[in-house]
Symmetry: C2
């Protein structure tokens, strides 16, 4: 597991060499929900990849040279091509690796998944609520919005009458949404929202059985422990290693 | 030109019938920069389409039934499929209509265009600055950010050493960015930013010669006149008809 340790700036973290042929490299952070999207797709499609975890509060210079925005997830290919922004990395992987296609083959099917992702990205980011509470801000507006949006999502999902958001098997949109649901349980007051969204709760249970979800998930205790260090302003990216 | 008039709610705007076979329908607003993206792509690709302009302050119920978010641009096909969010509509059109492909054929080429669009979408929306000024807000931070981002965009573009953002011919990314540059001149204090971004200024001049840009643009006077009604809170969507 020691290779999982994050790379910070300085002499102790020399720049990695070129990406081995036949592999792709993921720059990641173990607890980042955006990076988990890419990890889910890499695992679901059985792609050979290596991971380099980044210390997001002390990013190596060599990482900033590859991606000046310093974002994770970032992909790097053996040819030195660099791809970032989670939905872009996931679509790239689905196009390059034809095994187990996660996006539909029709243009309208793809458009539908992208529209669902746009809707989902308008659900308030729940960390904002927790951090706001911690800072003594009034977050009641955000809380109401979160509940409303989850209720609407539940309703839209119920109307589909399918097991997953893109049909009766897991597709890209499920992986794009999953990382936030995996973390909901950290936050009891938000998790209780799911009591009023029974269809989303059932989807969550189905998703927990997915092999890629199992391969990329952390336990609730680990999430909670990392989250505590994050909320305290000193995120321990290597928690549990 | 009377068919260009916008549809408001009420008996005077009955729901349109099905989309004719062999055509696609665009729900639009003549001065909306997001809808212009889709109009640019429709024109560049020579797609047969019909336009229904929407009164954005009094949306017809039948429009909200098709797209509950009430957004323009929205596309509708003869099969009744509905597609919205400007980048999604444009990618859909590029996939369905093979003539004159606007996105690169390689997955990495596509990813590059999407990453450029992400960068561009982080440039502050200049209307916010103008409306902020009007309301007496302190917009100095936004102005500084806009200038910095345009300078960076100019620098990145200069480094490409190509005539357009995707190479030496117009591609999707140019059309995604153009509508905001067409409107910059409305706002003298922002337009003067281009004095310090000579490569962007040259790109702007080249884009004005593009047939799809010519087909979808309005004159500076028309933009200014519409903008005035917008800033006054009573947008005249039919200005000039």
């Amino acid at each position: 597991m020691s290779t999982e340790k994050c790379h910070a700036n300085g002499k102790s973290s020399p720049a990695p060499g070129p990406v081995p042929e036949g592999h792709i490299r993921l720059y990641s952070m173990r607890f980042c929900p955006f990076a988990q999207r890419t990890r889910l797709v890499l695992n679901a499609k059985g792609i050979k990849y290596e991971t380099i975890n980044i210390h997001l509060k002390d990013k190596p210079d060599w990482f900033l040279q590859k991606n000046p925005l310093g974002l994770v997830p970032t992909l790097e290919t053996p040819a030195g091509e660099v791809i970032y922004e989670s939905p872009i990395t996931c679509e790239y992987l689905d196009e390059v690796y034809p095994e187990k296609k996660l996006l539909p083959s029709t243009p309208f099917g793809k458009a539908q998944q992208k529209m669902m992702l746009e809707h989902f990205s308008k659900v308030p980011y729940f960390y904002k609520i927790v951090m706001g509470k911690k800072n003594g801000d009034d977050v009641s507006g955000l809380e109401t919005e979160l509940k409303e949006k989850l209720t609407k999502l539940n309703e839209d999902f119920a109307n589909k009458k399918t097991k997953y958001f893109g049909g009766d098997s897991v597709t890209m949109i499920d992986y794009m949404m999953w990382p936030w649901f995996e973390r909901l349980e950290i936050l009891p007051f938000i998790f209780s929202c799911l009591d009023n969204t029974p269809e989303l709760a059932k989807w969550t249970e189905r998703m927990r059985e997915d092999p890629a979800v199992k391969a990329t998930s952390y336990s609730l205790d680990t999430h909670k422990a990392f989250y505590k260090t994050y909320a305290d302003g000193k995120p321990d990216y290597d928690y549990g290693l």
